[in-house]
Amino acid sequence: MKYVILIHSNPQPWGHPTPDFLPEHQALPQEEREAGSRAFEEGLAAITERGELVHAEALAAPSSSRLLRWEGDRKVAVDGPYAEGKEHLAGFFLIDVDTAERAEEIAGIFGARGETIELRPVMSGEPDVS
């Protein structure tokens, strides 16, 4: 089963890894921050090694996006961001796992305080293996 893990965040300034640019995360003791980033690296290595990670990308700043809207038949392009929300889509991980529980376990590796992780099933059309 494929899932996409969406990282919603608002690093200031926009940068990756996103937690490094979040005040909540910056307030943590240095050791805790290092332990967090080690756990992330280990988690990433583990899902890569297990063949569960399909693809991942970090996204450029929301202000760099171009928005295409239609006014009747007319296409109107304007500069982003898409929404002036508290958080923006910062990156995604596409994973392929055996169970929904495993997907949630993996999602726990990503993100940090001050971020929201969204776990969405992919319409991969594969039969349920059970």
Partner: protein
């Protein structure tokens, strides 16, 4: 065609060197060498002997290169002194059961079904990692990782290339059959998603089922698996319309079903059923046979299907079996009786909602039926199925 030699070559290597990871890698290297050299230099007179010779050399190289595995190298060296590099060496004759042993190793209980399937397709099905990756919609690198990990898991479990005990054999063969059925199921996902694609996985699954049946004909479940796949595949030409949309069984153009595959499947299951014990694959094949023999949905012997689903529910209950039981019950005893069976499934199951929609629609409860179809559409992970369910919801006249 020479990819078919791979399992025999692999079996021979496993007998010599014992280590699954090394042997499988060596066979892949030999196949790559063959793909490069044979078109240029011509196919050797004895392809199996050529592949065995080259793969043996690669296995020795791999074992040597791996300093951390020196002890294993020593064992291999003492077991077969000097034989691997002798080009005049005749190919060792493989007992036919080697393929079966290989399949049981691939379907080891320590592996997930997804890993079992990937390993089986590469080690026995003769597919490349790239082909398997395409079939499962992941990148080649990801699939390569998955296969390597599966092999390491086997090594970690101490899984060996040897016959399981008599007590373990039935369960191990059953796992093999399940993995082969999973290969076929994935073919539907593939053909739904990539229009006009070669039924690569269907062909691989049928081929595997044929070989298993040939190697162990005394287990009637092997005939059951082959019959089930033949009878299911017979309907494949009618399963999707010209636009690639799903056509449900009730609306399929039955003249497009393959009479040849149906005849073969029915003959197999009719021979297997009296042998007993009757297992889940024979029962599923028997159900498929009843459908295959019916000229239309109305002409179908639902009473017989209901009995068969009842038996299947007793021997191997599963959500898909409950669904079948509900459909058959509705045909025999009316939609309300079918709905009662569906209560056994979690309400969030999109398959339950899809069947609920059909049954409510037949009861004239239009609004509820539409709601059920919409819930099913929301729950499915298949785009063609979602389009189909939305069409059903849209086709309902307000009640």
């Amino acid at each position: 065609m020479w990819r078919r030699e791979a399992p025999h070559v692999l079996s021979t290597l496993l007998r010599r060197y014992g280590d699954f990871t090394t042997c499988e890698d060596a066979v892949q290297l030999a196949l790559i060498a063959a793909a490069e050299q044979w078109p240029r230099e011509g196919t050797p007179r004895n392809p199996a002997a050529w592949l065995t010779r080259v793969a043996s050399r690669r296995a020795v190289d791999l074992l040597r290169a791996d300093a951390a595995r020196r002890d294993r190298e020593e064992r291999a060296a003492t077991r077969e002194p000097g034989r691997a590099s002798d080009p005049a060496d005749p190919v060792e004759s493989d007992a036919p059961d080697d393929t079966l042993l290989l399949l049981m190793l691939c379907a080891h209980p320590a592996l997930t079904t997804a890993s079992q399937v990937a390993l089986m397709l590469r080690a026995v099905g003769g597919l490349t990692t790239a082909q398997i990756a395409q079939c499962f919609f992941v990148e080649e690198r990801t699939m390569g990782q998955r296969i390597s990990r599966a092999k390491r898991t086997l090594a970690g479990q101490g899984a060996r290339f040897e016959a399981p005990t008599a007590a373990d054999l039935p369960a191990r063969l059953h796992a093999v059959r399940h993995a082969v059925a999973a290969v076929y199921a994935q073919d539907h996902a593939l053909t739904e998603r990539v229009r006009g694609t070669d039924p690569l996985l269907a062909a691989a699954a049928l081929d595997l089922a044929r070989r298993i049946h040939r190697l162990a004909p005394s287990d009637p479940e092997n005939a059951g698996l082959l019959a089930l796949l033949l009878l299911t595949h017979a309907r494949a030409p009618a399963r999707l319309d010209a636009a690639g949309e799903i056509v449900p069984l009730a609306e399929q153009d039955r003249s497009r079903w393959s009479p040849r595959l149906i005849a073969e499947g029915i003959a197999l299951i009719e021979r297997a059923l009296p042998v007993g014990p009757v297992g889940p694959f024979q029962l599923q094949a028997a159900i498929a046979a009843v459908h295959a023999e019916a000229r239309s949905m109305e002409d179908t012997d639902w009473a017989q299907i209901l009995v068969l689903y009842g038996m299947l529910d007793a021997v191997e209950p599963a959500p898909s079996v409950t669904l079948g039981l509900a459909v058959a019950t509705a045909e025999v005893a009316g939609p309300e009786a079918g709905l009662e069976i569906l209560d056994r499934l979690p309400e969030g199951s999109h398959r339950r909602q899809a069947v609920t929609g059909h049954l409510l629609s037949r009861l004239g409860r239009a609004d509820e039926a539409r709601e059920a179809f919409l819930r099913a559409a929301e729950g499915t992970r298949s785009l063609p199925e979602q389009r189909y369910l939305h069409r059903l919801a849209g086709a309902i006249r307000p009640g």
